[in-house]
Symmetry: C2
Subunit: 331 residues, 2 copies
C-alpha cells in the first residue's frame, strides 16, 4: 500500500513520516511505498522496509502533481502550506500555494479517477484560522467561518473544495483544523504565536525567552504528537458518519500562560521559570486577543480523535521527543 | 460615473440595466457610462442619455476582463453565473464560470489598483445555496456554510475571496445572498425550483402549470423587483458597518404554496387556481425538502435592505412589470 505525503519536510510532515516508517502500517495495511514531496528536500526516514521516493517540488505549479497521482497512492496527506504571516505578507504566494496547490491536487485526483475508478483517502491540514473574532467563550462545531487572514481564507476555501470533491465521489477526504502546535521544536521563529512554544522550549534548555502577553491569556494548543495522531486517525477513520460535512475541529487543549508556566515549573523548576522574561507587547497582545481560546470539539471527540491530556503531558512529550528524556536546565 | 454589469443579459441583469438607465443615477451620482458584458449579447437599454458599451464575452477566460477593468468603472455588478443544475451537471464549467470568473475579476481589480489607487464598489450575487440541510426552522445570520451542491460551494468560495480582497483594501465589495426569484418571467425552465414561478405565471395567462409538491411546502422567495432593489442598495450602502463580514443574507419572503395559491386567486380568480394541476413528484419533493424555508435576516434589515411586503405584492409586481397591468385569464 502506497502513502503520499505532500509537505513532508515540515515539522509535522517529518514527525508523521517517522511514525509511519516506524509503524510500517496505516489503517491495518502494510505500507510498501512512501512518497515524500516538499518544496525543500525531504529526508529519507530510517528503519523503513518499503520503497521510499523523495521529490523536491513546488506543488503549486500547474500539472506537476499529476505524475505523482498517476502512481495512485492509497493515502494522501496534504500538509503543504505557507504560514499565516507569510500568506499575509505575500498575497500571491499564499493563494498560489495554499489554495492553488490543493486545488491542483484535487483536480489531479479527479482526472486520474476519470480514467479508471480511483478514490484515495486524503487528509488535509486546515486550521482554526478559518474562524474569526468575535468568538463565544466556547466555539462549537457549527460556528461559522469568517476568517480574518488570507491564510484562514485559503484554508476555508480548501475545506469547501474538499467537501464538494468528496460529495461528488472524486476523493474521500477529511479536513482537520489543527490547534496551534505547542511545543514546536527548533529555533524560535517570527510567528506571532511563537512565544507559546518559546517560553517552554527555551527555558528547558537554560535559555531566556520573552513572554509578550499577560499570564491569564488563554490559547488552544496541541502537541506535535497529538497532531500526528489526528492525521493518522483521519486517514484510518470511517468517513461515512461525516456526511457532507468533511471539516472537523480537532480537540486541542485550552490552556492559560499561567498553566503553561506551572507545567514548566514541575519539569524545569524555578530556575526554568525565572528564564521567562515578561516584556509586554501591546501589538502582539491585541493580535492574540482576536484568536480563539477554546472549542467544544464534540464531533471530533465522538469520532475518536484524542487530545493531549494536560499541559504537563505536552511538556513531557517535548522532553521525550526533543531532549532525549533529559532536562538540561536541571543539570 | 461609470457602471459595469457583468451578466447583463440575464433576467436580473436586464432588469437592473433598465432601472439604472431609467433613473440615470446610482448612489446620488449621475451615470455617464454603462458597460454591459455577458456571454450572450446584452441589449442596449432605452432612454439612457450616457454612453453604453455592449460586449459579448466569457469572463471565465483568463485575462479577458482586464481591459474592462482598466476603464476603472466606479461600480461593478458581478451577476454572471451558471445555475445550480448546470453547475452540478458540468463540473468544469461550473467552477470555470462561477469560481474562476469572479476570481479573475477580483485579480484584475487588484492589479489595476496596484498601478494607481483604485477601489471600486463591487456587488456580487451569492445565493442561499451556500447553506446546506439540516436547517433550523429559522436560519440566522451566523449559520454556517455547508453547501450541498457545487453551485453553493462556488458561491461560498467567492464570498470568502470577496471578504479577503475587501479586508486587504483591494475592492469594496458586498456579497448578497439572493432568495429564489419568484415570479420569474419568461418560459418555464427546467430548474427544480421552477414550479414556484410556473404555478403563478402560467395560470395568470390562462395556461396550465404543474405543482409537484404539497401545499404546505414553505420556501424563501423574492420578486425580481426586490432583487434589483437589493443590488442597488448594496451598491449605495455604507460598507463600514459590515466590518470583515461582507456576505449578507437578503430578506426574502417565506411563503407556503397554499399562500401563493391564495395570492393567485385574488388576482386571477378561481379560473386561474383551477389551472394549477397537482402532480406529486417524490424526486422533486425530496429535493425541495432539503432547501431552506425561512431566514432571520436581521443584519440585512438593519442595514436597510427591504423585502417584498407580501406574496400579494409579488403577484401585483409581476402583473405590472410583465403583463402591462392586465390579467389575461380574467379576460
Amino acid at each position: 500500500m502506497h502513502v503520499l505525503i505532500i509537505g513532508a519536510a515540515g515539522m509535522i510532515g517529518r514527525k508523521l513520516t517517522e511514525q509511519l516508517a516506524r509503524e510500517g502500517k496505516l489503517a491495518g495495511r502494510q505500507i510498501t511505498a512512501l512518497s515524500l514531496i516538499d518544496v525543500t528536500p525531504p529526508e529519507k526516514p530510517t528503519g523503513f522496509a518499503g520503497t521510499v521516493s523523495l521529490t523536491t517540488l513546488d506543488i503549486s505549479a500547474p500539472g506537476v502533481v499529476t505524475a505523482h497521482i498517476a502512481a495512485r497512492p492509497d493515502f494522501i496527506f496534504d500538509l503543504a502550506a505557507v504560514v499565516s504571516g507569510e500568506a499575509e505578507a505575500d498575497f500571491d504566494k499564499g493563494y498560489r500555494i495554499n489554495l492553488d496547490g490543493t486545488r491542483n491536487l484535487l483536480e489531479a485526483i479527479r482526472h486520474e479517477g476519470a480514467k479508471t475508478p480511483y478514490r484515495p483517502r486524503m487528509v488535509f491540514t486546515s486550521s482554526v484560522a478559518v474562524f474569526g473574532a468575535p468568538f463565544p467563550a466556547l466555539i462549537g462545531d457549527e460556528f461559522f467561518s469568517t476568517p480574518l487572514t488570507s491564510y484562514g481564507t485559503q484554508k476555508a476555501i480548501c475545506e469547501l473544495l474538499i467537501a464538494d470533491y468528496s460529495r461528488r465521489g472524486f476523493v474521500d477526504a477529511v479536513s482537520i483544523r489543527l490547534p496551534t502546535i505547542c511545543i514546536r521544536p527548533g529555533k524560535p521563529n517570527k510567528a506571532a504565536s511563537g512565544f507559546f512554544s518559546n517560553i517552554m522550549r527555551e527555558p528547558l534548555v537554560g535559555q531566556e525567552a520573552v513572554l509578550p502577553v499577560a499570564d491569564d491569556v488563554r490559547h488552544w494548543v496541541a502537541s506535535p504528537r497529538a497532531a500526528v495522531g489526528f492525521l493518522v486517525h483521519a486517514a484510518e477513520m470511517d468517513t461515512a458518519p461525516l456526511g457532507a460535512r468533511r471539516a472537523l475541529t480537532m480537540p486541542g487543549l485550552s490552556a492559560t500562560i499561567a498553566e503553561q508556566i506551572e507545567a514548566l515549573r514541575k519539569v524545569g523548576g524555578d530556575k526554568a521559570v525565572k528564564l521567562v522574561r515578561r516584556e509586554p507587547d501591546t501589538v502582539i497582545a491585541n493580535m492574540v486577543a482576536g484568536w480563539p481560546r477554546a472549542f467544544d470539539a464534540k464531533r471530533a471527540l465522538a469520532l475518536g480523535f484524542r487530545p493531549d491530556a494536560s499541559f504537563d503531558d505536552i511538556v513531557r512529550i517535548h522532553v521525550e521527543e526533543e531532549l532525549g528524556g533529559r532536562v538540561p536546565v536541571r543539570q
